[in-house]
């Protein structure tokens, strides 16, 4: 089945130690998103790629970076994790007009739960 895969599902890192979360998709979707979801809160968009075009949200800290080497993969890099960055990180994908029958709908991966010690 086509899907959005996130690895690892659980990640523990130390305060200040760089960490990379990965997302891959077999849906061949052009758009990929990264969300941060803190406990009992709504997901908050960090950034998204529209094809190779990177779009950063205005309030996303500089500590968060992203890479998309090809259509299938997208990475979230946290350069110096702080305790406040502990959260669930969700990757999602969507089509764009003309690509699929149901554009704008986002398909989510299972998430990576990040713990900062």
């Amino acid at each position: 089945d086509a899907m959005v895969i996130q690895n690892p599902r659980y990640q523990v890192t130390q305060f200040g130690k760089p960490v990379t979360l990965s997302c891959s998709q077999t849906l061949n979707h052009n758009v990929m998103y990264w969300y941060q979801q803190k406990s009992s809160q709504a997901p908050k968009l960090l950034f998204h790629y529209y094809d190779k075009d990177f779009n950063n949200e205005a309030d996303t800290p500089d500590n968060f970076q992203s890479r998309r080497p090809n259509t299938s993969f997208c990475f979230l890099d946290i350069r110096s994790p702080g305790l406040g960055d502990a959260a669930m990180y969700l990757c999602a994908t969507s089509t764009k007009p003309g690509q699929g029958a149901r554009p704008y709908e986002q398909y989510f991966g299972p998430g990576t739960r990040l713990t900062v010690t």
Binding site: Y33, Q41, A42, P43, Y50, L90, P97, F108, G111
Partner: protein, 119 residues
């Protein structure tokens, strides 16, 4: 900027009964989509139902239906014949539709309603 408000942090319903989750939103946009997403415990978020703002007819998907009141900016979700598998956090979400490419697909989520289906 858009805002989405879910006024019910938690709700419960007996199995086989009907429950309605509330959602209101604020926007100056005329072209947008509204969604309900379901996030079961420790599982991935999945789309429940979608409503295009230009459509007057309320969307339905099997046991799930919405009551979309555009003038009132209200978008409630009704779950009929509730099942144990419906236990989840439900998020209402807004998406502005823009045709310029970048920035067109941002979802704005509400804070969620935690629904428990009781046997």
């Amino acid at each position: 900027a858009q805002t989405v408000t879910q006024s019910q942090p938690e709700m419960s319903v007996q199995e086989a009964e009907t429950v309605t989750l509330s959602c209101t939103y604020d926007t100056s946009e005329s072209n947008y989509y509204l969604f309900w997403y379901k996030q079961p415990p420790s599982r991935q978020m999945i789309l429940v139902i979608r409503q295009e703002a230009y459509k007057q007819q309320n969307a339905t998907e099997n046991r799930f239906s919405v009551n979309f009141q555009k003038a009132a900016k209200s978008f409630s979700l009704k779950i009929s014949d509730s099942q144990l598998g419906d236990t989840a956090m439900y998020f209402c979400a807004f998406m502005k539709i823009a045709y310029s490419g970048a920035g067109s697909y941002q979802l704005t989520f509400g804070k969620g309603t935690k629904l428990s289906v009781i046997p």
